[in-house]
């Protein structure tokens, strides 16, 4: 019995020590400017649940940025995140490869996705929103209630996890803006068609804010519940600064501790949009420093 205690103690201590170095164990380019990273973070992996997020700092003195946890392996102690290169910090991250380390990796933060109690589920993913709905598809499929999934991207190359989503969904509807794959159009076109002909208990919609707002609006007059995952600007991620505040049902909530998922129909999206674009000018400046001037 004493050996078991010593063994467990060593395991925890080793986990804590390993947590000090966050090594990228694997990196996969899923699409242009979309990378999948498997990070060595055993403490984070142990308690992480789908829907939660991490905050990372690429290098000492860098910015704190949140990313949703896409997958985790508790035995190996790894966490998987998807990162789209959109600005300075993500550009820095895109330059790193397996074997490189990142300075800080904090989590699991926020509340996990909770779709328990729902039978007829629609998952809607836009762009790298697929990273958040993919683990839910797996869970629902395992529970015997495979979801109906709508995934959208600008073009065929940016449609991620297509095979995986097809496997775990009862029905799978890929959409592309340019029609290069699946149906041509936005995810909202398909969502509206589905809602017109079938009853759903809940829609989990994850993607760029305008997409989540659009899906919510299309479903507004339908009794279906809409859950969205707010990608608000954050600093600490633990509820101490209020940067990520969102008005939900007339009350101020923090996306980092009350969310990141909320009832879409109660969110003041107009306010959320202005808050999200507050640092756009700074981002563009910083981005130019890293990558050179970009065409808008």
């Amino acid at each position: 019995m004493i050996y078991a205690r010593v063994y467990n103690c060593c395991k925890v201590l080793l986990r804590v020590w390993r947590n000090a170095l966050f090594t990228i164990l694997a990196k996969r380019e899923l699409a242009k400017d979309i990378n999948e990273y498997v990070i060595d973070a055993p403490l984070v992996a142990k308690n992480a649940k789908p829907g939660q997020f991490i905050i990372l700092i690429v290098e000492e003195g860098g910015e704190r940025v949140p990313f949703t946890i896409c997958d985790m392996n508790k035995v190996l102690g790894t966490v998987t995140i998807l990162v789209q290169t959109v600005g300075a910090t993500t550009a820095k991250l895109a330059k790193l490869n397996a074997g490189d380390t990142i300075a800080s990796f904090v989590g699991p933060l926020g509340n996990p996705t909770d779709l328990s109690g729902y039978k007829k589920v629609m998952l809607v993913g836009g762009g790298i929103g697929g990273a958040v709905i993919y683990p839910q598809a797996k869970l629902l499929h395992k529970a015997g209630i495979a979801p109906v999934t709508v995934m959208g991207a600008r073009n065929k190359d940016l449609l991620i996890y297509e095979n995986e989503m097809r496997t775990y969904s009862s029905r799978f509807y890929p959409m592309t803006d340019d029609g290069s794959y699946g149906d041509k159009g936005f995810v909202t076109n398909k969502v509206k068609k589905l809602l017109d002909t079938e009853d759903f208990d809940v829609i989990l919609a994850v993607g760029p804010m305008p997409m989540m707002e659009a899906v919510t609006n299309v479903a507004r007059d339908n009794p279906v519940k809409v859950i969205v995952s707010m990608n608000s600007v954050m600093v600490d991620g633990t509820g101490m600064c209020g940067c990520c505040r969102v008005t939900v049902g007339g009350e101020t909530k923090y996306a980092c501790v009350d969310g990141p998922e909320f009832d879409g129909k109660l969110i003041d999206f107009a306010e959320a949009r202005t808050r999200a674009s507050f640092y756009k000018e700074f981002e563009t400046e910083e981005d130019c420093k890293i990558r050179g001037p970009r065409k808008k």
Binding site: N8, T252, E271
Partner: protein
């Protein structure tokens, strides 16, 4: 016989210092320190000691300074206080030790804070040789690396405990690092104090959020006791219309961006809005820190808006004095009722206030004067109206008893509702001072030692 005047450390020129982050108040020279120590009457009754939350033997260390025995003075102080460089800078001495100094009656109290800072900095520059400490085979986890956690950890480490501090942020120090600005508490001072802690054998693990990354139950499986020093990091907002407009910051967010994330530095990866006309709501130390920081970040105009009058302002007198010298305007008996703006904050609508009867905490109740609304133009608004304990850890730990206001319930030694789990500092009192947090850390360390040995 005329009383000799109090020695004052020199200060940077207000119109120069309000554009940079250099420490405003210089430290005593050795000569000034000895001179000031010489003024001390060495009262038998030692009233000053009664005013110190950790009971430093003030006449004792001052006597050593008078003899130019600075090492001796450092030894006297470290019996009660491990962070003199910090306390000498941030303690509200005017309501503590210096308030009770008998020379206060003549308006020339001993500059106890400045003397403590002098010895603290002397000690840091000299370095401290740490004798090897015999480990006693007991392990304690400390949650939070602010003043309460750092003090508890240091005291336990000195007694041979193996201590690990878990810190949520990427750098330790808590409010000493993210909250108090560089020009009031240089970060090299905080880093040096933490270095001394590491030399005592304390291990600090950053980027770990207890309650998320590790649960309290999991800590209790591996450690004999836990001390919670998670502070009061939940910002208060007024709840007025327009408060969520971009450009409206909590003081926590503003200061964390500028201090911890170093947004004040050229080429920083973390953005912060540099307002030209900034309004700060509140009149505590955090409000003064926010206003003075905004000035340094390039504002043309910075105003404090406070609903009570000058007499009720909670900030240290030195901070208010420095803020006014630096050009910050004080709009007293004024309270915001609405934040104005379309895509971002453009101004605030305020109402004039008058003072009524004292409330249940003895502070004059502010009452709106109907019809006295007026607008102030601003492009950045910082809410510095107080903080309360962050609910993250209690919410993850249902057995941890807290009050309605989120304060962790403890006995006089810091013991919580969970056996072997202690708490102290702002997490157990609500927002207070660095020195009180240290005192709580000290009490808890003593209780932990007594319970485990």
């Amino acid at each position: 016989m005329a009383i000799k005047k109090r020695n004052k450390p020199s200060e940077l020129n207000p119109n120069v210092r309000n554009k940079n982050f250099e420490e405003v108040t210089r430290v005593f020279t050795a000569e000034m320190a000895v001179n000031e120590a010489d003024r001390c009457l060495q009262c038998k009754a030692k009233p000053c000691v009664k005013g110190c939350p950790v009971g430093i033997d003030i006449p004792g260390f001052i006597a050593k300074i008078k003899q130019s025995d600075f090492d001796g003075a450092a030894d006297v102080i470290s019996e009660a206080n491990l962070l003199p460089s910090i306390c000498g800078r941030v303690c509200p001495q005017e309501t503590q030790c210096e308030a009770l100094c008998v020379l206060n009656k003549m308006g020339e109290p001993i500059a106890i804070g400045a003397l403590e800072k002098f010895i603290g900095d002397y000690k840091l520059a000299r370095g401290t040789k740490v004798e090897p400490i015999k480990k006693i085979g007991r392990r304690v986890a400390v949650v939070g690396s602010g003043p309460a956690g750092l003090t508890c950890a240091a005291d336990l480490a000195r007694e041979g405990f193996e201590v690990t501090i878990f810190e949520a942020f990427q750098r330790p120090g808590g409010v000493l690092t993210y909250g108090i600005p560089e020009f009031r508490l240089p970060k090299r001072v905080v880093q040096n104090e933490i270095k001394m802690l590491k030399e005592l054998g304390v291990v600090i693990k950053c980027n770990v959020v207890v309650g998320k990354t590790i649960l309290l139950d999991e800590l209790l499986e591996e450690y004999n006791a836990v001390f919670i020093g998670t502070g009061a990091g939940l910002p208060s907002f007024q709840g007025i219309p327009g408060e969520n407009l971009p450009g409206v910051y909590s003081a926590n967010e503003y200061l964390t961006r500028v201090n911890l994330m170093e947004a004040r530095k050229e080429g920083s990866a973390t953005p912060v809005y540099r307002g030209k006309k900034v309004v700060v709501v509140g009149a505590g130390n955090v409000a003064m820190d926010s206003a003075r920081t905004a000035m340094r970040m390039g504002a043309d105009e910075v105003s404090i808006v406070y609903r009570r009058s000058r007499k009720e302002m909670p900030a240290r007198l030195e901070e208010i004095h420095h803020a006014e010298e630096e050009g910050i305007k004080m709009l007293l008996l004024t309270n915001p009722v609405q934040v104005l703006g379309e895509k971002k904050v453009e101004g605030i609508r305020c109402i004039k206030m008058e003072l009524g009867e004292p409330d249940d905490r003895g502070r004059a109740r502010p009452i709106e004067i109907p019809g006295s609304e007026f607008d102030i133009e601003c492009d950045q608004l910082i809410m510095a109206i107080g903080t309360s304990p962050n609910p993250l850890l209690p919410q993850a730990t249902p057995d941890l008893e807290i009050t309605k206001r989120g304060i962790i319930v403890t006995d006089e030694n810091g013991l919580t509702s969970i056996p072997n789990v202690y708490a102290g500092g702002d997490a157990a009192t609500g927002a207070a001072t660095v020195i009180l947090a240290m005192s709580a850390g000290r009490k808890a360390a003593k209780a932990i030692k007594e319970s485990l040995l």
